[in-house]
Each structure stands twice: as structure tokens, then as C-alpha cells.
Symmetry: C2
Subunit: 193 residues, 2 copies
Amino acid sequence: MVTRAGLNPDVVLDAALTLFARRGYHGTALSEIAETLQVRTPSLYNHMGSKHDLLLRIVDRTTAGVLDDFHRVLDPDDPPAEQLRRATRVYAHRHATHRREALVVNRDTSSLSEPAIGEMQARRREHEHALRAVIARGVEAGDFHVESPALASFAIRELCVSIARWFSDDGALTAEEVADQYSGFALRIVGAS
Amino acid sequence: MVTRAGLNPDVVLDAALTLFARRGYHGTALSEIAETLQVRTPSLYNHMGSKHDLLLRIVDRTTAGVLDDFHRVLDPDDPPAEQLRRATRVYAHRHATHRREALVVNRDTSSLSEPAIGEMQARRREHEHALRAVIARGVEAGDFHVESPALASFAIRELCVSIARWFSDDGALTAEEVADQYSGFALRIVGAS
DNA sequence: CCTACCGATCGGTAGG
DNA sequence: CCTACCGATCGGTAGG
């Protein structure tokens, strides 16, 4: 029995997500989203505010999720190496399981308008600083060995982000396996023993 | 004495490069390029084929340069660790010194049309396989320790690519310093002793 | 190098 | 959910 689902905001957002990830925000026309959903373009406006609002919802949800993940897995009582492992594993895992979101955030956040663009960048900066602090504590404790925690933090974050560029559900490795391997890479980058 | 330079193909390409890197290919109008150069849009056509051709020239030149770099610095007589260091250092260095090109290639190659898009992807694959082969030889020699050379190759390449996202000529580190640090990260990722 | 102009398409609205 | 339509802008051409 085929479910004859009607249009709703979630379905429109999901179609937008797929197309924005594939062609980019400016490379996607609302008419393409409508075609995917087999309706005419004006019908979309019953389920969304505007094209810009679709992008904002995607970026907002994703950047908030990254911070939620981080604070959920971080235990201040853990040693720095375990903190870094857990923080990078959940970040890497997200980029394997939420590929489309990651591609859109990285490619098209700059297409938002103020004040949204500033707010979203602030969230990414918050995550970057939080990860950097973990690395700095590891260096102070003598567990990590890097010249610049900032450089290592940039490197590790972008390393995880890049998973979205090649990961496939049909590939040899599961999201969990990739996340484990990449958190291992992160520990190697900081020179953890 | 101000040089009153006339328009030429290189100047148009450079202006396109700056704007494509900032706003993306689909997010940039030819009228914006013209405005930058203080001419009307139709005048651009005396110095270029089409908007698509501008993108193709950027991607073509850059992907060819990456392969040239690789083969220029790779010495088959070097031990794997030195091969990996040199290959990643030149790749990282390029992403610090050619930021705009890197951003455009990574963001907008998919906006090319066939057969160009396939040809450009083939070049990136060639670089990926060449770097993977270096890693595989290091693993066979017992110098590197990774479960999957393919995964390590992806990781290291994307690590270098990400430099284009944050590097600044005004920052604390020079392109050479960043390249040295990042090639060190690469050696750590593969577990070189 | 310009003005004048082309058809196509864009995001979005009116009104039912 | 639709048809009909809006002004704006797109890449590109004609012709000088």
C-alpha cells in the first residue's frame, strides 16, 4: 500500500536539502524543488517562507546540532585524550550521517543575509574554540604535542568536515567505523602518546 | 605614475576568480565582474568566451598545476616518509598561496558541463591515487601504520585543501610555515615513526 | 569600448 | 493545490 503523502514543511525542506547539497543554493531553482515534489512552484509557499528561509532552517538546525553533540559527549572529568576522541568522533560521525547538511552549511552559509550569517558563524566559532580549548589543555598536561592548538583545531575540524565529501552508505566502511578511524587520526595529529 | 591598464583576458580572469571564490560561480553575475573592472557587461566578451569558459580556465589551470607540482617534487628514490612529506608540503603550500583557485575548484567544479567536468575529476582522482600509492608503499615498507591507505589519502588531501578556508597572508604563519606544519600532520596521520 | 536589446528564467504574489 | 502574472535580472548578441 503506497502512502499518498501530502506536502508538508518537512518534505519541502528535505527536497531542498538534497538539491542544495547537489547544486548549491544559488544553483538550485525553486522550480526544481517543486518538480521533485510534483507540484507547481507557487504551491511550495504553503509550506515555506522563502528560499532564503529554507537555507536558514538547514544551517540553523545543523550548527545547533553540532554544539549540542559536543556538549553532550564532553565529560570534563575525562583526560584530554578521551575528550578529544569523543568530541571528534561525534563530529566525524555527524558528517557521515548528515552529509547533505554539512555540504550546504560549508558551501552556502555565506549566502545567508545578516543577522543570520553572523549568528551562524558565531556558532561555528564557538565549536572551534571549544575544541581548541581541549587541545590546549592536553598540551598543558603534557599529553599532546603541537606547536599551535589553533592550527591543530582547524586541521582536525576540517578533517572531519571533509568526510561529507566522499562518504557513502554503500562504501566499505560504516559511519561508526569512519568516525573511529578519524578520531584516531585526530589523536595522532596532536601527538597523543 | 598610475598605469592606465586596458582590459585583457588575464585581468578578466583574475576578477572572475576573486568573485567566484567569494560568492560562488552561480552566485556571481557577469555584471559584477564588469563592475569591478569598470566596464559594461558586453565589453567583457572581447576578452572571454563565456562565463562557463572562465570557470573552465580556472579549474583547468589549477588541477593541472596540482599534478605538475606532485610529479616535480616526487623522487622515487626517496623513502616513503620523505615522499609523503614533499608531496603534502607542496600541496598544502599551493592551498595557502592559491586560495581563490582552491575554493573555486572545490565548490564549483560540479557546475562545469561535460566533458570538462569528467576530465577535471579524472585529474583529481589521479592525484588522489598517486598519493595513496605513496602511503601504500610506506605501509608495505613498515614505515607507516594505517588500516586503510585510501582513507588516509582522503584525509590528508582534504586536510591540505582546507587551508584555503582559513589561511590569510596577514595571519601569524606564512604559507611555508603552514605547509611545514601540515606535512608534519600528514606524517603523524600515517603513523610515521 | 559602447547602447540597445534579446529570450529565458528567477523568486515571489494575486486571487481563487 | 492551481493558473496567471509580476518586476527584476540573468547570460549573451547585434551592430556600430
